[in-house]
């Protein structure tokens, strides 16, 4: 009983701490990147794509999907792989260059 109580408290603490920390960080709704920022992301994405994707499955070529589909796919992959946010942004910008 005591063990369950502790695990529940731990879980709630982790969630609350995460939400609190999260509210201090940058907003979810990121603005469209500037030209220089986009260039940086594309270059970074070109380095990440052959490694990060291939780690779990064969890397799908950028031309396979439409840009809006990559937005969805990478959002999904970011969740599955817990990919750092900036890396996910780099991957999606690279994949959208087609």
């Amino acid at each position: 009983m005591r063990k369950l109580f502790i695990t529940r408290k731990l879980f709630v603490t982790i969630v609350l701490a995460g939400v609190a920390l999260g509210s201090l960080s940058r907003p979810v709704f990121a603005q469209a990147p500037s030209k220089e920022e986009k260039r940086r992301l594309i270059l970074k994405g070109s380095k990440l794509w052959p490694v990060y994707c291939n780690q779990c499955h064969n890397a799908r070529p950028p031309g396979e999907k439409a840009p809006y589909e990559w937005d969805q796919e990478i959002m999904h992959m970011r969740m599955l792989g817990n990919i750092p946010a900036d890396d996910a942004r780099a991957l999606v910008e690279y994949l959208k260059t087609r």
């Binding site: 291939n54 779990c56 396979e64 840009p67 809006y68």
Partner: protein, 520 residues
């Protein structure tokens, strides 16, 4: 009166005067001389008159010429003016033409130029709207040949020679850049009929750069297999490794809530990520030892007394720029009450290494299930180690280029997996189900991605799987798998009342599975 006329009149008067003055003198000199002189004068006067007449004619002629020249000059002037006017108009027209040409050229350039992808993407994005929808997933066609060399007591068994088809569409719906809905249906057609299941349905909500929430029915984020390797085009083999197949050690899915995220702690590629989650908790097919862990359907309808809690941390130590490949080291735990006050506790470690053509992965899973006092403990262990190598760098000397290009698409694989558990519930073998496909498989009739070999259901099953994949495209693959089942002796089969009988020696077995899969 003109000057010439005045001059002629003056000459005539002067001559008359001169004659009147000279008359008296001549009279005085001589009458003959005068007559001659008069004649000469008259002749001269006549000559002068003729000259004057000619002069007049010349003057008239000249006047006519002057008039003609003046007329011509005025015409020339008028022509020159007209020419100047025409020239001005021509200049203006030329300027207009140049401007028109420039406009036409500009338009032509715009028409001829291909639309920039970014521009097209932007236009297409506006066309689609902000709510986007996509179907992804996979489909597979499968054939199993299993020459069952032995049987389990009292169970139906037969040599299998069967085709299957499986279709797993995944729906992604993204109403905004911070939320995504994911839902997957699984439809399978096989020897025992068709089945449809719902293995996934959840919302993914991005809170910020470091936190995401997942709410709904999801693959168990324990280790790597269920979440990342279970899609049929992602799994390098046709079948699942034993601890994630029919003898699952931890539940394959959960319904509940996750908090997860990742961050870079060092150089590019040096990351760490976390996942914590809670849900309905583990569920077993029976309360006896060796009972199978419930699949998605059982989890969704789970009526356990307590909720579950799980956590996973994964660590990536290798920097990308060192070109040492990517290594993942992970540890997971999943715990919850499965019945009354009885806990199910599990933990596992996993690794995953990828470098060029080589990929390796492995997991170790350990589970403890507290049992009522009249039963023995139900502890389980499972593991697998897998390696594969793409032959796309191999050029066999003497082989034609065409043949070498086929070889480049090959990926030989090997996997060793095993499960240890004290007992296996005999009812589960009678009505065993494949992972994610509830209710399709009956007894030892195989399921999609499962050979149905009796050896898989042994308390101490071991399997060596040899694979050869032919990659048509990054997500289109023809997979071939040859399984060598090498179950260890020992353990018990447990009836629904808890009575156990020794499993004894279970014969080795072989199976061949081939599958054509398209990920989309």
């Amino acid at each position: 009166m003109s000057a010439e006329r005045l001059f002629s009149t003056f000459l005539f008067a002067f001559a008359v005067a001169a004659l009147s003055l000279a008359g008296p003198a001549r009279a005085a000199d001589s009458d003959g001389t005068d007559a001659v002189a008069m004649k000469q004068i008259r002749s001269e006067i006549r000559q002068m008159r003729e000259e004057r007449k000619r002069d007049r004619e010349v003057i008239r002629s000249l006047e006519i010429k002057v008039q003609q020249l003046e007329t011509k000059d005025s015409k020339v002037q008028a022509g020159t003016q007209q020419l100047q006017s025409t020239d001005q108009k021509l200049k203006e027209t030329t300027l207009e033409l140049q401007q028109t040409n420039a406009r036409v050229k500009s338009l032509q350039t715009k028409v001829d130029a291909p639309i920039a992808p970014s521009q097209f993407a932007s236009d297409f994005g506006r066309y689609l709207g902000s709510h986007t929808f996509q179907i992804t997933g996979a489909a597979g066609f499968n054939f199993v040949y299993d020459q069952q060399s032995g049987a389990l007591d009292g169970l139906h068994h037969a040599t299998q020679n069967t085709f299957f088809f499986n279709f797993e569409p995944m729906f992604l719906y993204r109403p905004a850049d911070w939320i995504l809905f994911e839902g997957e249906l699984e439809g399978s057609f096989g020897q025992a009929g068709t089945a449809v299941d719902l293995p996934l349905a959840d919302f993914q909500i991005t809170l910020n750069d470091y936190m995401m929430i997942v709410a709904g029915l999801f693959d168990q984020p324990f280790g790597d297999w269920y979440e990342n390797q279970s899609p049929m085009w992602v799994n390098r083999f046709v079948s699942a490794p034993l601890p994630f197949g029919v003898e699952a050690v931890v539940p394959p899915s959960e319904i509940g809530l996750q908090l997860r995220g990742g961050l870079q702690w060092g150089d590019l590629g040096q990351d760490v990520d976390y996942t914590v989650w809670g849900g309905n908790g583990p569920n077993f097919s029976e309360s006896v030892p060796g009972a199978a862990i419930g699949g998605p359907t059982a989890i969704a309808s789970s009526l356990t007394n307590g909720k579950s809690i799980g956590a996973r941390v994964r660590f990536y130590p290798l920097p990308l720029d060192e070109h040492l490949g990517r290594l993942e080291l992970g540890a997971s735990t999943y715990n919850g009450k499965w019945m009354n006050g009885h806990w199910f506790n599990s933990w596992g470690v996993d690794f995953n290494y990828f470098n060029g053509n080589l990929q390796m992965r492995g997991e170790w899973v350990q589970a403890y299930r507290q049992m009522p006092s009249n039963f023995s403990q139900d502890n389980r262990q499972g593991w697998y180690l897998q390696a594969g190598y793409f032959l796309n760098g191999l050029n066999v000397p003497g082989f034609p280029d065409k043949l070498n290009s086929y070889i480049h698409r090959l990926e030989p694989l090997v996997r060793y997996s095993g499960v240890n558990q004290h007992g296996v519930a005999i009812d589960d073998i009678h009505g065993a189900t494949g992972v994610g496909v509830g209710g399709l498989q009956v007894g030892l009739i195989p399921d999609f991605g499962l050979s149905g070999s009796p050896a898989l259901f042994a308390p101490h099953s071991r399997e060596v799987a040899l694979g050869l994949d032919y990659w048509v495209a990054p997500s289109i693959v023809w997979q071939n798998e040859f399984d060598i089942e090498l179950p260890r002796a020992g353990g018990v089969f447990v009836s629904s009342t808890g009575a156990s009988t020794p499993a004894g020696s279970i014969p080795n077995d072989h199976a061949f599975l081939t599958q054509f899969t398209v990920g989309f």
